[in-house]
């Protein structure tokens, strides 16, 4: 099975704590790495999880709070010291690009690779990355300052050829790709063999959404409807719902409601307040009551999305 995983490098909020690092995760899609947010210390966890700098080509920043960006200067400088080649594209709001560029132009002026800035507009919905197998889209979140979520969607996959039929009909190799993509086969005598006799259905395409930071808003569930796995912030337990709203954050219950309303198969909750020094079990419990397939994020956790 083709690799599609998410690695959790940091799932705390605001400040590093004894329990958690600030926000950072890395999606591994068939050995291409995509970082989402980059809190202080991200480079250390990146290496600790055995990820390779040379495979990191895109970094997506959800919003311009320090706990989501302060790891960038160190990460990029270390990548240059490791002689990473090519380009690294940073998808980020305009002010973030300007601030980061001023530091990188000074501290990393002999960078081994080129940094490309892709400016995200607040509120924008756009495919900001595409290759032969994957797209990444932005959609708005609802925080104290402009904030964007990201949806990673595997493209539709090829159907599986039925080897017996290919052999029986003697289909030329040159036609196999078209048939995998859904074409019928026309025999030399003009007879049409419909595709569903030649193939079995493709594996389902998988999707992943990152929703952090955001307060609860019905529009989030609508925007991530049909996504398989959702990472959603759950800064507080619902006993602190008013605090959550005031600070532009969600409770774990609200995260579960969003996952349920979006029809997701799985929910990962994170961005935990440091107040839960005894662990986030209370947050998990109230989420599971609404959406059973919920897991707690944790540094070092690697989840298969397929």
């Amino acid at each position: 099975m083709a690799k599609f995983q998410v690695n959790i490098l940091g799932c705390g909020s605001a400040t590093p704590s004894a329990r958690h690092q600030p926000s950072c995760q890395v999606v591994d899609f068939r050995d291409k790495l995509f970082m989402i947010d980059c809190g202080e210390g991200a480079q250390s966890w990146f290496r600790r999880m055995g990820l390779k700098f040379s495979r990191l080509g895109h970094i997506f920043i959800s919003h311009l709070h320090g706990d989501h960006v302060f790891g960038l200067p160190g990460l990029l400088s270390t990548m240059s010291l490791h002689d990473v080649q090519g380009t690294v594209t940073i998808h980020i709001f305009k002010e973030g690009a300007e601030l980061l560029k001023s530091w990188m132009d000074f501290f990393n002026r002999q960078s081994s690779f080129e940094i490309i800035y892709d400016i995200i507009e607040p509120g924008e919905r756009r495919v900001i990355y595409e290759d032969s197998g994957l797209t990444v889209e932005t959609f708005p979140l609802y925080h104290r300052i402009p904030c964007t979520g990201f949806i990673f969607r595997e493209k539709p996959k090829a159907r599986h050829l039925r080897g017996d039929m290919v052999k029986f009909l003697g289909i030329p190799v040159s036609q196999l790709q078209a048939i995998k993509n859904g074409a019928d086969y026309v025999k030399p005598d003009g007879t049409v063999v419909p595709n569903d006799r030649l193939t079995t259905p493709a594996d389902p395409s998988v999707s992943y959404a990152y929703c952090s930071d955001t307060m609860y808003d019905k529009r989030v569930a609508r925007d991530v409807a049909g996504v398989d796995t959702i990472y959603h912030e759950a800064t507080y337990h619902s006993s602190l719902e008013a605090t959550a709203r005031e600070r532009g954050h969600s409770t774990s219950l609200q995260a579960a409601v969003t996952a349920r309303d979006a029809g997701a198969s799985r929910l990962i909750i994170g961005h935990f307040s440091k107040r839960y020094v005894q662990g986030e079990q209370p947050l998990l419990e109230e989420a599971v009551a609404v959406f059973p397939s919920t897991v707690l994020a944790n540094e070092g956790l690697r989840i298969d999305l397929e």
Copy 2:
């Protein structure tokens, strides 16, 4: 005894490694904290060592390489989230102040405390901090870019009163401070009692010098002559002396020669290259051969300077 300690928060070079953090240390002088350099992750080690943000009033930055400054945005933001009051003065070269200010004005615009920038000029020798018990001076180091060292000097201390003489002579309380500072006592009948009959000598004043990053240069030993404890970078073993010079760094042997020539009592070596994955014992061995009172820096190490 009054507290005068140095806490090692990071003593690696260039990038965080499994063994070491980037440069950072904290001098604790009678519960006032003074940070020297601030590599990424400094705030985490600061808390891990049980230091208090509210006592940190001054940060001294030796030079503008990322491994000495990338921890500043996170540290200052966290201090604000901890509602630290008053002022924090950052002693730094001009370009560093400008770069840091642009980030702090954006990411920490509602800071709980005021940041004051004290601009150090390259090559400058100046007392950049002074209170009733301590001075901090700059002096030039010799790196690839402008770099400054720092000397912490305890001011001369008061002499110890001889309780028996104070009582015997009936010296009024109002005169005791002057006597501790060296004054003679004039009896009501005009007789002068010389100070050395009233007091015993003050404890010696202690000093500490931070020399990182720098290549070997005789002028360093001259500038730190008479300092008690020297922290000196020792990025490489002397088998890599040419590399050290080329990159503006020192070998452990050169650090020891500087400490010996300066007449120091103790040398702490640090800023280790990450190549010494098996430990820095080889660096220690060659230093000790020249200067026996050498210790290896390490994260979490706290050294009494008195």
